[in-house]
Amino acid sequence: MTCEEARSLLSARMDGELDPHLRAEVEAHVKTCSACTKDAETLETVSMAVRNGISRSTAPQYLRDNIRFALRAADYVERRQAPARWKQWGAAAAAAVFIAALGMAPFLVNARNHRQAVAQELLSAHERALVGREVDVVSTDRHTVKPWFNGKLPFSPPVADLAAQGFPLQGGRVDYAGGRPVAALVYRRRLHRIDVFIWPAGDSTPPARFESNGYREISWKKDGFTFTCISDLNAAELASFVRLLQSQ
């Protein structure tokens, strides 16, 4: 075996990845070649330096939480579960439901259109603010934002600061959607802005989920208010943000 051949195999030799026959040949060469012996030592040093230098780091806890939450919220689940439920029902029951659904279709479509319209209006408000004023009251803490809404709105929206969880509150503004004034809270995640619209729960409720132009909208009701958050943030982090707000 030539020096060159042996040298190309030293790395695999160190990893114990040579087959016995080849290994024997390499060993025999290294024993008689001081240059290859030295190269083999160099490789060991490099390997050890790398192992010591890139010690395994633990994934951040919030990443673990985000993933756990995202897995539960994944659209996939809804899609996958739907056919399973259908199978459990008898064909007759399924047909009956189908016919009933046909009868209700005009009403549902109408309600759906209305709710989509509200969602679209909120999205416009979000986009407007992207190019114009983002906030009317600047803040890094809820104690300056919450009182600011007094007298500007006929209700007092709940305001949470999530800076500790990585979603600092930037401020608030009054916006209009669905023909009524709504409170808009502005949060930030890295370079992404998240608007949270809050108004007293009523008939103008956007769909729980809505997507358009790369923006995601998630809506829910809690404590007599409707909440809609809108952002271009990725689905996983937005879901995690929603969970934080819902648990306030």
Binding site: S11, L71, K221
Partner: protein, 199 residues
């Protein structure tokens, strides 16, 4: 069903019915989160991108969960993680290339503040040198040195023959040696520090 498209306030709706599937998925794959994170972190060279990639990879993994046949779960997940990372890097080539050649952030520092410990300095040098490797060398090094995987496992994850894994590791190590200035009759710098540590 039109109504089915409007998910009424029900992020929770799917939860209970699919709880078993998710619990199973989490039980199998969450223990590999640190491995996924380390691979993504070293491939992407930027923690924010790594976080995004890992999250995306887990969602992809959940979607393909039905294709999982009980083989090595770590390898199965890491293959998805690296594919996600490579797709991202391909789509952001411009940015990645800039990082590749921005020497000032990768330059080995000449002077060190006394407050910085020697081991920290050494570890920074190793990270910088790994950052300078091409992506397919980086992943081979991470899977071998950090995950201690066999060539066969690495070949399975990266989708290349074992022989390619072998030559990538050999070339990566030789580049690392010269970057870390560990060589025959080494000349100062981090060299001696590391060599001393060995003896």
């Amino acid at each position: 069903m039109a109504a089915g498209r409007i998910h009424d306030n029900s992020m929770k709706a799917g939860w209970s019915s699919s709880a078993r599937l998710e619990a199973e998925f989490e039980r199998i794959f969450l223990p590999h989160l640190d491995a996924a994170w380390n691979l993504a972190r070293l491939l992407m060279r930027n923690p924010q991108d790594a976080e995004d990639a890992v999250q995306e990879a887990y969602l992809k993994a959940l979607r393909s969960f039905s294709g999982f046949r009980g083989e090595s779960s770590r390898s199965w997940l890491l293959a998805i993680v690296r594919n996600t990372c490579f797709t991202w890097m391909r789509n952001n080539r411009e940015r990645a290339d800039q990082a590749e050649f921005r020497e000032e952030i990768h330059a080995v520092p000449t002077a060190t503040p006394e407050t910085q410990s020697l081991s920290r300095e050494r570890s920074d040098a190793v990270t910088r040198c790994i950052d300078l490797l091409p992506a397919d060398f980086r992943e081979a090094i991470v899977l071998r040195e950090l995950e201690q995987m066999s060539y066969r496992e690495i070949a399975g994850i990266t989708g290349v023959p074992s022989g390619t894994v072998m030559s990538r590791l050999a070339r990566a190590r030789s580049r690392l040696a010269s970057c870390l200035k560990i060589s025959l009759g080494g000349t100062g710098g981090p060299v001696n520090a590391i060599a001393e540590q060995r003896s």
